[in-house]
Symmetry: C2
Subunit: 198 residues, 2 copies
Amino acid sequence: MADDTGIDALIDLMARLPGLGPRSARRAVLVLLKKRAQLMAPLAQAMAEVALTAKDCHVCGNIGTSDICSICADPQRATGEICVVEDVADLWAMERGQAFKGRYHVLGGTLSALDAVGPDELGIPRLVARVADEGAREVILALNATVDGQTTAHYIADALAPSGVQITTLAQGVPIGGELDYLDDGTIGAALRARRRL
Amino acid sequence: MADDTGIDALIDLMARLPGLGPRSARRAVLVLLKKRAQLMAPLAQAMAEVALTAKDCHVCGNIGTSDICSICADPQRATGEICVVEDVADLWAMERGQAFKGRYHVLGGTLSALDAVGPDELGIPRLVARVADEGAREVILALNATVDGQTTAHYIADALAPSGVQITTLAQGVPIGGELDYLDDGTIGAALRARRRL
């Protein structure tokens, strides 16, 4: 495409990123080529550094640049509450919400018989042990509202039942700024069933 | 966002690429973090290599990894035809068309009084000298069909007039697969004026 093996290889690699196809990868590489010193070199260095230093947190499964992630290492975060999420992306989304001040447990997926993902692959025994070790008061299951997510949530609730820890899940209802007319029927039904006094 | 300075810095840099905003940059970095060995490390290396080796071709202004780009260095390409394009992106687009077998001259922009881009910034004197040196038979002005592009094309045509070289421009008309109903009036008019015997 660029008639140059080095640049072509770079375009091919960029095209494998989500949200970039061959055409937009080409456009991105052209911008990089024009801003070699200001953008391309720093980006290459930042990427190499993170590739070298990124690791999964031993405690919660979050990705950071040390053995214990910044959330687990933060003494300000409450230790009694563990929020279970499917993915690091979900953890980041929760953090953007700035509403949760406890700690996390990242599953790395959902239970799936088809993909041979069982409780061990998701570290559920590790979660059960952690709840006992840390003497957690509450486990919040913040899994996606999909069939797989909810199946996994029910499995975890069953696995945690003997420990006596309080198990909660995110509320379902009308999103902030949401218009009823555009909501699906299931969400409206859930919001109605979970209605509260004003 | 990721509560980690290294990863946050990488997201910020990625978000400066065209086609990626803060949200899609985050998504791209998450994929990179999950594919550290298969994708992130090779991408960082390819980028660092190109950042170090990329340079503008002395002859035509194309970007490659050597002083003379692969097109100018190719003895198979006709020396008598020079195709003038605004940008390296346009050169790549011409190459994808696989119709042109000559060589290029990349202006790097268009004449613009507002942005203080004059003939010298675009290397037009260098083009005039090159046409004389190489004894070119034809100069094809493949500039964008915009006001700036056409102004620049006319300026170059005037500058090359004394050399006696044949000056041509890309045909305007209905694009392959185009439907008349969706074409703008200017294009239909241009296609009608340039109609040819079937």
